[in-house]
Symmetry: C2
DNA sequence: AGCAATTAAATTGTGCGCAATCTATATAAG
DNA sequence: CTTATATAGATTGCGCACAATTTAATTGCT
């Protein structure tokens, strides 16, 4: 019953032009960012998503797959194989919770903990590549989080 | 020789917290957007990227793989298999240029042209899901394009 | 205790993204 | 004309994302 009453800025014809696609720059920027991280993370043998997982483990060791999924907005279909790769690299172990055998408990290895030192330069190097000022970064974050909020909860009403 | 003289807002330790990752919301928002497009594009049997390619062809029929790649910031490794899928769906043909046999010429089929009618409602439906106002959309686009500009040309100096 | 419903994670299959490499055509230089 | 170089696209291989399904453990209900 919730029909959208948003007044469109463009007519339907104009709206189909690539230059008027709201989300295309978002999509391209995200790709560009991941590409830009690649050389920085190469030395750590991490992909961008693996790096995000390591960030979370460095903050809080011993989390579950579900914990990771909620924080990263990803499911086990993405995370399970990724975690196996991080396990194969000896950065973490994939144990089981003692109180609930269903739950994987992800723990950093010594190697995984040591990796953090070498990651300390990554955020700075990335900031240098992007060179947005603090205001722009905050704006961008707010806009992106607004989008995520609107799209993630299909359920709650307007 | 171009060392970055950007003054960091955070120290190296804080910079490794997920909540301080500039680009994580960008990455998550892009994922969320593609996910949100999925049900809208299902009826057209298109993925988000296939939809972008169709948008370009509806604007200008007969382009090459290189043309597409430059506009979408993607290479033949991504586009070739995608274009084969669109060809299999009978939305386009993958011919060759008469003057240069290396070049693929992508042409819409009748079916592909007809699809445009059914796509006319997609931008509006998406705008309803995202519900950012015009100012926010412009801000977002500008910020994303800034990022793309900074990251895409590794070559030109500051 | 016994059984249905729920939950956590794994699995399967499709489609990107992209680096690296390869093939074929076209152009340039000698 | 011939060899070198450049260009357009295809191929290969890996790692996401994610829908859909499956497996196994736990919880709730009676």
């Amino acid at each position: 019953m919730s029909s959208c009453t948003n007044k469109p800025t463009l007519d339907a014809e104009e709206a189909l032009l690539l230059k008027n696609q709201i989300c295309f720059p978002l999509y391209s920027a995200a790709n560009a960012v991941i590409r830009a991280y690649r050389p920085l993370l190469e030395a750590l043998e991490l992909t961008y998503l693996q790096y995000l997982v390591m960030l979370l483990l460095w903050e809080k060791d011993g989390v579950s797959v579900k914990d990771l999924g909620q924080q990263l907005h990803l499911d086990s279909g993405t995370l399970t194989p990724l975690l196996k790769r991080l396990e194969a690299k000896q950065y973490l172990t994939r144990g089981r919770s003692e109180t609930d055998e269903r739950i994987r408990v992800l723990n950093l290895t010594t190697e995984g903990k040591k990796l953090r030192e070498r990651a300390l330069t990554v955020p700075g190097a990335m900031a240098c590549k992007v060179t947005l000022d603090t205001n722009e970064l905050i704006q961008l974050r707010n806009l992106c989080e607004k989008i995520i909020d609107r799209l993630e909860g299909d359920d709650h009403p307007g």
